[in-house]
């Protein structure tokens, strides 16, 4: 898939685990086009993967009839990620109390690692209800 140079890209994926690989490829291509460094690309790709994996597995129970709409756009000071979930009562990650790094490492917890990473990687996370859907907006600021 060769993307044309533009400031906004969109993809829609089925709610199944196998979609995550395709989403990562898409994210990598978009961020490469915008000349984001490999290390920044990796972190943003990871955060988006974690949010979508959470929705696919926990909110949609891997029901491939359901879909997530993802938009990645370039702003003057960073990258914006939007995940639109048409299941309005689905999981809101901003309401989830993520464990601390200490809890994860000392109590050997597996749950919550992904959302902790999202909160550590992204600079802004907002979840809102609009047009019958739940929309998660995240921003990663880039140094000018």
């Amino acid at each position: 898939m060769k993307l044309q140079q533009q400031w906004e890209h969109h993809i829609s994926v089925d709610c199944k685990r196998e979609s995550l690989n395709m989403l990562r490829q898409f994210t990598k291509e978009v961020l490469s086009e915008w000349q984001i460094t490999d290390e920044q690309q990796y972190l943003m790709m990871l955060a988006l993967d974690e949010v979508c994996a959470n929705l696919i597995i926990h909110a949609h129970s891997c029901n491939s009839d359901d879909r997530l709409d993802i938009t990645i756009s370039r702003a003057a000071d960073g990258i914006l990620f939007e995940v639109k979930d048409t299941k309005p009562d689905s999981f809101n990650l901003t309401h989830y109390e993520v464990p601390s790094v200490h809890q994860i490492l000392c109590e050997k917890k597996r749950n919550g690692i992904g959302l902790l990473l999202v909160k550590k990687i992204m600079d802004e996370i907002v979840v809102e209800q609009a047009e019958g859907a739940k929309i998660c907006r995240m921003k990663k600021k880039l140094a000018c």
Binding site: Y42, D49, I56, I104, R110, L116
Partner: protein, 115 residues
């Protein structure tokens, strides 16, 4: 997808991970490590040289299996971790908890000598 290979080297079991560890593949590594640990080796080293990507399910496997090894007094370490993946470990502080070696030789020598 991910592929896991194991071999015993200098009395240390080396588990090599090839590919991507995400929500759809982490269980493969988890099962492989479960089998390795059940054999009660002196030490387990996970070679990450061909690990291209890891997300939280894969990290969770490392954390929980490291904990299990501690309880069973089996040494556990990672080696050949790429800079990108190491950055993720640093965000979580995992690099302060799990031993990480630059090369497989360095890991097997250190781990072989540590028990």
């Amino acid at each position: 997808m991910v592929e896991v290979k194991t071999k015993v080297e200098n009395r240390v079991t080396v588990v090599s991970v090839h590919g991507e560890l995400d929500a759809s593949s982490a269980l493969i590594l988890d099962n492989a490590l479960e089998g390795v640990i059940a054999q009660k080796p002196a030490a387990v080293v996970v070679d990450c040289s061909a690990l291209e990507y890891i997300s939280s399910p894969g990290i969770g496997v490392f954390i929980s299996r490291h904990g299990e090894c501690e309880e069973k007094q089996i040494s556990f370490a990672l080696c050949n971790v790429s800079q990108k993946i190491n950055n993720v470990f640093k965000i979580l502080g995992l690099d302060q908890v799990v031993k990480i070696y630059a090369t497989t030789d360095e890991a097997t020598t250190a781990m072989g000598a540590s028990y």
